[in-house]
Symmetry: D3
Subunit: 255 residues, 6 copies
C-alpha cells in the first residue's frame, strides 16, 4: 500500500484496517566522512522502508531524519537532538498510530547511535501495552554477508555503508574521496583502555570521520547488501504480522 | 546549494561557511479531510523550502514530518507528538546547526498547530543567543491573495490548501471527494461560545475534517499561491540574510 | 455565593454541592505603558470574576496574579513565570477543585500572553476527563463593541484596556501619561516581515510599552465594555452550567 | 510605597531603584476546620505583607493564593498544586523581579505546608546568585507570645490562627463553630509511631480539620499576635535591607 | 532472614512471601566535623537496619549511601545528589519491591537532610497505593533518652551522633578531634533572624561542621542509644507488620 | 587510602588533595538465577573497587547498590530504578566529588544493564567539563581469559559470574542449584529475529534467569578472573591518573 502520508483519512481508514504492521524509518543527518552524504542513515532507512510499500499488510510512516548524533558534532554539518528528545519523538509517533489500531511496528533504523533510545522506546511502548515495536538495524541483519564481502572492522562510513549508498544514490557518494576517508579512518568503533570505553566522540578515534575500510566499497556489493537485508526485513515483517498481539506483551512474574 | 543532507561533511564545511541562513521545513501527518493526503502540511513545507535550493546563501535542512496534531486524532491516519516534544526536536536541531556557525534560520511551516511550539522554540533560541529562527507559515504570507481567490473562512483542508496540493502533487488530491469534504466542513476554525473557545478537537466543529470551502479549489490558483508565497519567502530570506546577527538578539532592559 | 476563600470547609461543602461551575481569574503583573498599573490584567480578571458572586451556581476561586509575561521583561516592574509553570499552576488548581465535584470552570483571563498555556491546560484537563475549563479572554467577547468605540488596532495598554481600568480603578490610571503612552505606542501587536513574526518582545515594536491608541480611552466607554463583557461572561456561565458533563468530554474516533 | 501592582512601569522604575527588599506573600486556600475561612493562610500573609507598604525600602508583590495543601484534600474546598509547581511559581516570580535589580526578598508565608518548597526555592535562588529570599512564617516569629497566650500544642486552625483571623477579618470567623472545631481537633500535628511519622494527611489525625485548642481564640489576642509578628517582620526587613548583597551569597569551600 | 541481596531469586520468593515489611536503610556521605567519619549516617542506618535480620517478617534491602547533603558541600568529602534524584531513587526502589508483594516498609534513615524527600516519597507511594513506607529517623525515636544523656541543642555530629558511632565503629571516631569539633560547633541547627531561617548551608552557622556538644560523647551512651532506638524500631516493625494493608491507604474525602 | 566514607572531612581534605582518581562501584540487586545471590553485581563491583584501597592516588566511593534492572523484574527479589534515575544518581554523585577537586573517576560496574546510563553520565560530565568518568565493566576487560576458561556464550549468571562470586563469597553461591540454573538457561543474551531484538525481558529468553553455562563455574577460575580483571583495573587507574585533565575534555570542532 502507499505510504501513510499519501493516503487521505478515508483511504487510511481501510489501509490501517488491513495493516498488520507499521514501518517507521529513522536515521540521522550527520558526518559520514569525506565521501558520503550527511543523509546516509535516513536515506538508507527510507530505502529499506519503502520496499514494504509492496505489501498489503504493512504501512510505511514518514522518515525521522535527525537523530542521536552528538558524538559526531565536531564534524561539519552534523545535526542532532538529545537522546530523550529522539526517544519521545519516535515513541509518541508510534503511540499515535496505535490509536488507529496498528500496534505492531518495525523501526527501520539506519543509525547505530539511535539504538539505545529505540530500545527504550520499544520497552516502554511494550510495558504500557501500547505497541510492540522492535528496532531493526539493517547492518545487523547481514553480518555474515558483510564479513564475506569486506575485510574490515567497521562501524561508520565504512565499506559497508559506502557500498549501500553507492547502490542507492550514486550521486551522493564522492568516490574520489574514499581514499581520504580510508586514510583518516579509525580501525574500529570507539577506543578502549583496559576494558573501559574512553572515546566518547568520533573525533577521539577517527580523523576523517570514517571507521573501517571505505576503499573496499563497491556498488554491486551495495546491491547485494540491499537485497539481502531487504529479505531479512520482509522475513521480520512476515514474522511480526503473524504474531498475535497477545503474545507480544510482557510476561507476568509470579505475583 | 544542495540540501544539507546531500553534502558530505567536507562540502558542508564550505556550504555552511557561505550560508547566511538555514531553512527548516516542518509540517505534520494528519487528516486533511476525504480529499487531501495526510502528508499535506509537510509536503507543502518541503516544497517551499526546496525553492531555497537555488540560493547560495541558504541551506535547506531535512523535513520534520510529524507535528502537533493531537486535535485531529479522532480522524484515521493522524500522527502526532506532544507539543513539548515537537518544540524540543526543532529547537535542538537548530541549535546543533548553530554550532557550525549558521545562526539565522527560517522555519518553513505547513501546519498551524505547530505555531505555538515554533514561537516558543524561536523565543528560547533567541533568548539564549543560540539562533534567530522565526517561523513562517506559508498561508499567512498570502492572506490578500487568498481573499481574492476564494470566498471562504477556512483554516484546514480548505480551498487554499487543496489548491496548493493540487498544484504540487496532483496525485495526492482526490478531486472526486472535494464535494464530500465541503459537505461536512466546518464554517470556521474552532467553536466559540460568548468569546470562549470550546471546540478543542477538530471533530467538535467539522464532520469531514475540513474547514472552509474545498470545492473552490483549483490547481491554477494553487500555482498562484505557490508563486506568491515563494516570493514572500525569498524576500524574507533576503531580509534575514542581510540582517546582522547582532541586531537579532533581544534588547536589554534598563538594568 | 461568596468567593471560595471566604467559605469554611463546612459551608464550602454545601456551596460546592450547589455549584455547577467555577470561575478562576488569571492575569499578570506586567508593564502596561506609562499610564496603566502593572496589575491591570489580574485586576480586570478579578473584577469580571467577582460579578459571578451574584450567582448561586458559580464559585469564584482566588486570582492567579503572575503569568506568562517574559516578552515584557525589559520594562520595569514586569513579573513572569515560565509558560509551563503557569500552565501547571492553573491546571493543578482546577484539578484539585474537581476532586470536590466541580468539574466545569471558566478561566476568566486578563492577559493575552496566558492564552496558549490556558488552552493547553484546558485540553489536558478535558483529555484526562478531569474538568472542562475553557479560557475566556474578556476582550475577545466584545470585539464588535470595541470596534464601535475605538479606532485602533490595539493589543496592549490600548484605549480598550485603559478605558476598562479607568472605569474599574480610576486611581490606577495616570491620565496625564496617556499621551506619552500613545506617542511611543506600536501600531499593532507584534512585527511581521513577509509573513514571519520577528518581534518576539514588546520592546521590539513599542517604545512606550503600549500598542494601540491609548488617548482614546474614556471611563464611560470602560463602563460599557465592562457591562457588555460581563453580560457575555454570564451568558457563557449559563451555557456551561446547563451543559451536561457527559457532553463536555472529547469525542471518540472510530477505534 | 504602594504595592508593585499599583505602580506603572514608570513609577516602578523609581520604586525598584529605591527598594532594598521585596515582600512576596504566599499562602493557601485550604480547609481550616469548621470555623475559619479557607483563605486564612493567604489572607494572613497578605495582611502582614501590606504592613510593609509603609516603608520606602520595600516593595510588596501580589499574593500567591494556592499552595502545597494536598494533605488537606479530603476536606471540602481545599485547593492545591504540586510542591514542585508551587516552588517554581515562587522562584520564577522572584527571579523575574531580580532582573529589575531587587535581589533581596522576604517570602511572607502563611502556610506551613509551603515551607519545604520555599526553602528549596530560596536555596536555589541563592546558589545561582539570583536572589536571597528567606521565607518567614509568621507564627514562628512569635512562639513565646503564643505560649504565653494559649495553652495548646497546635498547628492548624488552632487558637493562634483563629485569633489572628478574628482580628483581621472578623467576618471570616464563625465563632459559633469553634466548639465543633475543638471537639474534633487533633492534639498535635501529625501522628507518630515509635518515632516514625505515619499520619500523612490531616484526616489521619483530626476529625474536624483543626489541630489545637480553637476555643481559646480571642480577637484581642489576635491583635497582639499581629502586632508582635509585624514587629518581627519589620525587624527582619531592616536587617535584610542593611545586609550587603555580597554577604548574602553562599560561602566558598576550600576549592 | 538474611538481607535481600544475599538471597537467590528462589529463596527470595519464599522470603518475600513470608515478609510483612521491608527495611530500607538510607543515609549520606557527608562531613561530620573533624572527629566523625563521612559515612556516619549511612553506617548508622545500616546498623539499625541489620538488627531486623533477626526477624522472619522483615527483609532488609541494600543501603542507599549518598543523599541530600548539598548544604554540607563546602566541607571536604561531602557527596550529594539533588533532592529529587534521591527521592526517585528511594521511591522507585520501594516500588520495584512492591511488585514482589511486599508493600509495607520502614525507611531507616540516618540523615536529617533526607527527611523532606523521604516524606514526599512516602506520600506518593501511599497516594498511588503502591506501598506504605514511613521514614524513621533513629534520633527522633529517642529524644527523651538523648535529653537525659546530653546537655546539648545538637543536630549534627553532636554528642548523640558521636556516641552512636563510637559504639558502632570505634575506628571511625577520632576522639582526639572531638575538642576541635566542639570548639567550632554551632549552638543549634541553622540560623534564624526574627523568625526567618537565613542559614542555608552548614558553613553559615558552624566553623567545624558540627552542631552541638561533641565532647559529651561516650561509647557507652552510644550503646544505650543504639539499644533504645533499636527497640523503638522493632516496636514500629511489629506495629506495621500487624497493620492490615487496607488501613494503610489514604482515606477518602466526601466525594 | 581508606574508602572516602571512612575519612573525616579533615583527613578527606588531604586524601582528596592526593587523589588523582576516584572509583565508584555500581551494580544491581537483581535475580541471578537459582544459584547466585541477588547482590552479585554490586558485590562484585565493590570487591574490585576495594582493591584500589591499596593505592595512594585513588579514593573509593560508596557502592550504588540498585540499578537498571527492570528487564529482570519478573523474577523474585529484583529491585530496580528507572534508567534516568540511576544516571542522575551516579552523575550527581560524581559531580559533587568534582567540587572537591577530584575530576577523574572510573565507574567500576558489575551490571551490564547499567551501561547505557553510565555512558550517558560520562558523556555529559565530560561535555560540561565537570569530570572524566569512563565506566569499566569487569567482564569486558577479561574477554580472552573468559574464552579460555569457559565454553559458553553467556551474559548473565553464567559460568563467568558464578565463578567470580564463588571466589569472592562462597556463602552466596548455591552450588547445588547450578544444574537448575543451567537447565533453564538461555543460549545467549536476548532474542533476535532477522536482526531485530525482540526479547526485551530476561524471561523472554531464559527460564531459570541465567544465560550461559553455569555448571562450568569453578572458584579457582573465579580467582583467576578476579586477579586478571583487577590487574586491568589497576592498569586503567594508572593510565587515568597520569592523563592530564586537559586531555580528557572533548575536542573542539572547526568552529
Amino acid at each position: 500500500m502507499p505510504p501513510l502520508a499519501e493516503h487521505t483519512t478515508e483511504t487510511a481508514a481501510d489501509a490501517l484496517e488491513a495493516a498488520e504492521v507499521a514501518v517507521l524509518p529513522t536515521g540521522s543527518t550527520e558526518q559520514h566522512g569525506p565521501a558520503l552524504a550527511l543523509g546516509m542513515d535516513h536515506l538508507a532507512a527510507r530505502a529499506f522502508a519503502r520496499t514494504a510499500a509492496d505489501r498489503e499488510d504493512a504501512v510505511v510512516l514518514p522518515t525521522v531524519p535527525v537523530g542521536v548524533s552528538a558524538h559526531h558534532r565536531q564534524f561539519d554539518g552534523t545535526l542532532y537532538v538529545a537522546e530523550e528528545t529522539f526517544e519521545r519523538y519516535v515513541r509518541e509517533t508510534l503511540a499515535s498510530l496505535a490509536e488507529h489500531g496498528v500496534r505492531k511496528a518495525v523501526v527501520v533504523n539506519g543509525h547505530g547511535g539511535n539504538s539505545g533510545a529505540l530500545r527504550r522506546a520499544a520497552r516502554r511502548l511494550r510495558a504500557e501495552r501500547t505497541a510492540f515495536a522492535p528496532p531493526w538495524n539493517w547492518w545487523e541483519s547481514v553480518d555474515d554477508l558483510a564479513d564475506e564481502l569486506f575485510d574490515e572492522n567497521g562501524g561508520h562510513a565504512d565499506a559497508m555503508e559506502s557500498s549501500l549508498l553507492w547502490h542507492l544514490r550514486e550521486d551522493l557518494v564522492r568516490a574520489d574521496r574514499l581514499e581520504a576517508a580510508a586514510a583518516g579512518a579509525g580501525d574500529g568503533w570507539g577506543e578502549s583502555v583496559h576494558g573501559a570505553p574512553v572515546g566518547f566522540d568520533t573525533i577521539d578515534f577517527s580523523e576523517s570521520g570514517a571507521v573501517g575500510k571505505p576503499t573496499q566499497a563497491d556498488p554491486e556489493k551495495g546491491e547485494r547488501l540491499f537485497e539481502a537485508a531487504s529479505e531479512e526485513l520482509h522475513a521480520l515483517l512476515d514474522w511480526l504480522a503473524e504474531r498475535p498481539l497477545s503474545e507480544c506483551w510482557p510476561r507476568e512474574g509470579r505475583r
